[in-house]
């Protein structure tokens, strides 16, 4: 079974806890973290993403697009870093809702980001459409990578 962690329950603070900070705008609540260690976890991550997108109100088509983008970045973790996490969260910036997806790994990092973002480029067993494809279908896409330390991909899709 995949290891799943949910964020701590913030609804019942103990007396010793400081008063809860006001929610930051655009912050995730009810984040779901799926650890990515096997190919089966890719399926779990995209299914969780689809479920979350459905509760936020995305159409079936957009749910599928989001699931596909999650599948691609989760696969990148398996292909290049062996293990990592995909964290899914609901976004609400006051005016609009959406879904955030953060894929993190402590893998080797990406030596040439421009090359990795190019359509059709791949050093592993794929079509090389993963990162550029995911970027194309999401509203926001941010990739940070440090050689020898790991890669983080942050993506957001807003409900229109």
């Amino acid at each position: 079974m995949p290891d799943e962690r949910t964020s701590p329950d913030l609804t019942t603070p103990s007396a010793a806890d400081p008063p809860p900070a006001p929610p930051e705008r655009g912050r995730d609540d009810a984040a779901v973290c799926v650890s990515i260690e096997t190919e089966g976890d890719i399926v779990t991550a995209r299914q969780k993403g689809r479920e979350l997108a459905a509760t936020v109100g995305f159409t079936a088509t957009d749910q599928t697009i989001l699931a596909l983008a999650i599948s691609e970045i989760a696969r990148n973790i398996i292909s290049y870093a062996k293990r990592g996490t995909v964290t899914l969260g609901r976004l609400d910036d006051g005016g609009r809702c959406g879904v955030s997806v953060v894929a993190e790994d402590q893998g080797p990092g990406i030596p040439d980001v421009d090359l990795a973002m190019r359509d059709g480029y791949s050093t592993a067993k794929s079509l090389g459409m993963g990162l550029p494809g995911a970027k194309r279908v999401m509203d926001e896409f941010d990739l940070t990578t440090v050689l020898g330390e790991g890669t983080t991909v942050k993506m957001k899709k807003w409900l229109r």
Partner: protein, 124 residues
């Protein structure tokens, strides 16, 4: 979970159930290459109706299954790609280049039939 392979006449039918892991897809490629020889199949139908997503790995593996089967003398047709799945693939830029597709199992079998008839005519 292995994909069941059914033999119907000279056609092999692979009906993919629910979400497949990468390993299942790779296994399917090996199974099809093996059964095409054992059953002397001329055609292969891969039914992906129940797949919720066709990502780059699945796309690539379907292509390699079709090429492998072709080298073994069988034509492959992929059937049942759902509308949302098709749309998502287009958005992401994924393609099943060089692979025959059909709406459903019935259309897929008709396509293979037409190819076989065409082949017989050419052989005369």
């Amino acid at each position: 979970m292995a994909v069941p392979l059914l033999k119907q006449g000279d056609v092999l039918i692979a009906s993919i159930q629910a979400a497949l892991t990468d390993q299942d897809l790779v296994q399917l490629r090996e199974d099809i290459a093996d059964r095409v020889g054992r059953f002397r199949s001329r055609g292969v139908v891969i039914d992906v109706t129940s797949l919720d997503v066709l990502d780059s790995f699945a796309t690539r593996t379907l292509r390699s299954i079709a090429y492998t089967a072709k080298l073994r003398g069988a034509n492959t047709v992929v059937v049942g790609i759902q509308p949302d799945v098709a749309f998502a693939m287009v958005q992401l830029g994924l393609a099943l280049e060089g692979i025959a597709t059909a709406l459903d199992l019935e259309e897929g079998l008709a396509h293979l039939d037409a190819l076989a008839t065409e082949g017989r005519h050419r052989a005369r």
